[in-house]
């Protein structure tokens, strides 16, 4: 394969692969953070 198309293919694979991997992390860990914020807001509301 010629140099430029190969370079773009690698960039595309890095972009899509990285995006998919970080998205899984955000989906799992973000849910935990969302629950923590809700808990904090509820506690603040109850406390005053």
């Amino acid at each position: 394969m010629k140099l430029w198309p190969l370079a773009w293919l690698i960039l595309l694979a890095l972009g899509v692969g990285g995006f998919a991997a970080v998205s899984v992390m955000i989906a799992v860990k973000g849910f935990g953070e969302l629950k923590a914020i809700l808990k904090k807001l509820k506690r603040d509301e109850d406390g005053g």
């Binding site: 010629k2 430029w4 198309p5 773009w8 293919l9 960039l11 595309l12 890095l14 972009g15 899509v16 990285g18 995006f19 998919a20 970080v22 998205s23 992390m25 955000i26 989906a27 860990k29 973000g30 849910f31 935990g32 953070e33 969302l34 923590a36 914020i37 904090k40 807001l41 603040d44 509301e45």
Partner: protein, 494 residues
């Protein structure tokens, strides 16, 4: 109509969930800090979800896909400066760290502390004008997308956009940043699924050899090599984009509000490091869709902006179109919510707030600032509907959007750097002062004004000029003020 009953049900369920989660946050909003920066409670993962989903909308897909459709694989170059600048900021904390440590809510606040209220007002004014003429084209461009994907008649689109904007206004104006964080999470899950699906599915359906050969046949060498003659993505573009992205990522209010919402400065800089990969993908995925459209559309549309929605209708299997549309609407609504919040807060705090204080001698209280914020959001929506349907340009939409925010970016970056790093007596005549900051803002805005003339120099050159002029203005103005109005030994340096 291209949507089946299942598709419509999916879109309806998504809209209902968005309104519910957004308005649910309302009861937790107690003051302006809760409204604007969510009590600084955001962690790394929600911060990333919020930043990315607010920075990806149908408009992002449309302008980047247009760049790919009209320029081929060489347009993938657009993603590289994003990656490099995010990584640099995340690793060094340049500008970001001092801003986080100052605990401010909008960037013009920094200018008031460093240069006085006049510069704050000028910065706020240019930010509001540049930001709103950039934001103002979103509904019109997105209407084209929704029109094509759904198959709705053109006269129904205006009402579709009005309903969408009204939903966003409802939950943003009521719940502020907390509702934006809630809804951004849901929106992020949907949009990331949609983006990965369309890219992988399209890649295997069309095939890489077919994509490369179409690009080479259509554009020749400049379709794959960004440095070939005739390509708009050469070195000038690359260096301008490094400066431009450095400015956007450190000072654009829709980005900084996300970072100011982080729970500490370490979380803020980590969001930047992780975002390097995400923003690379944010650029390369839609550009690739544009190239994909070029390769798979048998009938080429007259308007290049239509290429992406036409390709989605052609490629997406029946039954998945509703999910894709919900994903794309999700992406857009989070962008609208975030931009509305940031531009209205600039107008309320930096224009109305500063003017009120100057005229009355008193600070506008938080309750009134919130009312101004919400009224401004409604005003911006009315302007957007008018501007987006009356705006016309022959340039790449990507370039229009860049040049619109360029109105304030160069002046803001140079003033922020001099305000943070060159603001004490050690720098002698080069010490950043208010005359320099004002001149940096005014001169940095000139190339954007030139862009709106019927005939103008190449866009990348205009972009580079902005930074050169802003830097020149800062140096000349500051040196002049340090000579003619030196800082008293115990006084402040405004």
């Amino acid at each position: 109509m291209n949507l089946s009953a299942v598709d419509i049900a999916i879109v309806g369920a998504y809209l209902a969930l968005t309104i519910y989660s957004g308005t649910y946050a309302k009861k937790y909003i107690k003051d302006l800090s809760g409204f604007l920066v969510a009590e600084r409670s955001m962690g790394l993962n929600l911060g990333l979800a919020s930043l990315i989903s607010s920075e990806i909308g149908i408009i992002t897909y449309m302008y980047l896909a247009e760049a790919g459709y009209r320029n081929g694989l060489a347009a993938l170059m657009i993603g590289i400066p994003f990656f490099l600048v995010f990584l640099f900021l995340g690793r060094t904390g340049f500008i970001i760290k001092p801003l986080l440590e100052l605990r401010i809510m909008t960037l013009p606040e920094l200018f008031e502390r460093k240069y006085g209220p006049g510069v704050r007002f000028l910065a706020g004014l240019l930010m509001a004008v540049g930001g709103i003429i950039n934001f103002g084209v979103f509904p019109g461009v997105e209407a084209k997308f929704i029109n094509t994907v759904t198959g709705l008649p053109a006269n129904a689109i205006l009402w579709t956009m009005i309903v969408l904007l009204a939903v966003v206004l409802l939950y943003t104006a009521l719940g502020g940043m907390i509702s934006v964080i809630f809804t951004n999470y849901i929106q992020y899950i949907l949009l990331s699924l949609g983006m990965v699906f369309l890219t992988v599915f399209g890649f295997f359906k069309v095939g890489w050899p077919q994509i490369v050969s179409t690009v080479e046949k259509t554009f020749g060498a400049r379709g794959v090599n960004p440095f070939a003659a005739g390509s708009p993505f050469g070195w000038t573009f690359f260096f301008w984009q490094l400066l431009f992205q450095l400015s956007v990522l450190t000072i654009a209010p829709y980005i900084t509000m996300r970072i100011f919402s982080a729970k500490d400065s370490r979380t803020g800089t980590r969001i930047f490091t992780w975002s390097s990969v995400m923003f690379l993908a944010r650029a390369v995925i839609p550009v690739f869709w544009g190239v994909l459209a070029l390769s798979c559309l048998t009938v080429k549309p007259d308007d290049p902006l239509q290429a992406l929605p036409l390709m989605i209708v052609q490629l997406t299997p029946k039954g998945l179109l509703g999910l894709m549309l919900a994903a794309f609407l999700a992406a857009s609504m989070s962008t609208y919510a975030s931009y509305l919040l940031s531009w209205s807060s600039i107008i309320a705090q930096d224009l109305v707030g500063v003017t009120y204080k100057r005229l009355s001698g008193r600070r506008l209280d938080d309750r009134r600032l919130l009312i101004v914020n919400r009224a401004t959001m409604a005003g911006i929506i009315v302007f957007m509907i008018w501007w987006s349907f009356s705006f016309k340009s022959e340039e790449l939409l990507f370039f229009y959007l860049l040049l619109a925010v360029n109105l304030f970016l160069a002046g803001t970056l140079i003033s922020a750097v001099f305000g943070i790093y060159f603001h004490d007596a050690r720098f002698g005549l080069l010490r950043g002062r208010s005359w320099g900051a004002a001149l940096a803002f005014v001169l940095g805005a000139v190339p954007t004004v030139l862009f709106f003339l019927p005939s103008h120099p190449p866009v990348s050159r205009l972009g580079i000029w902005s930074y050169a002029l802003a830097l020149g203005g800062m140096v000349v103005g500051s040196v002049a003020q340090n000579i003619f109005k030196p800082v008293p030994k115990t006084g402040d340096a405004a």
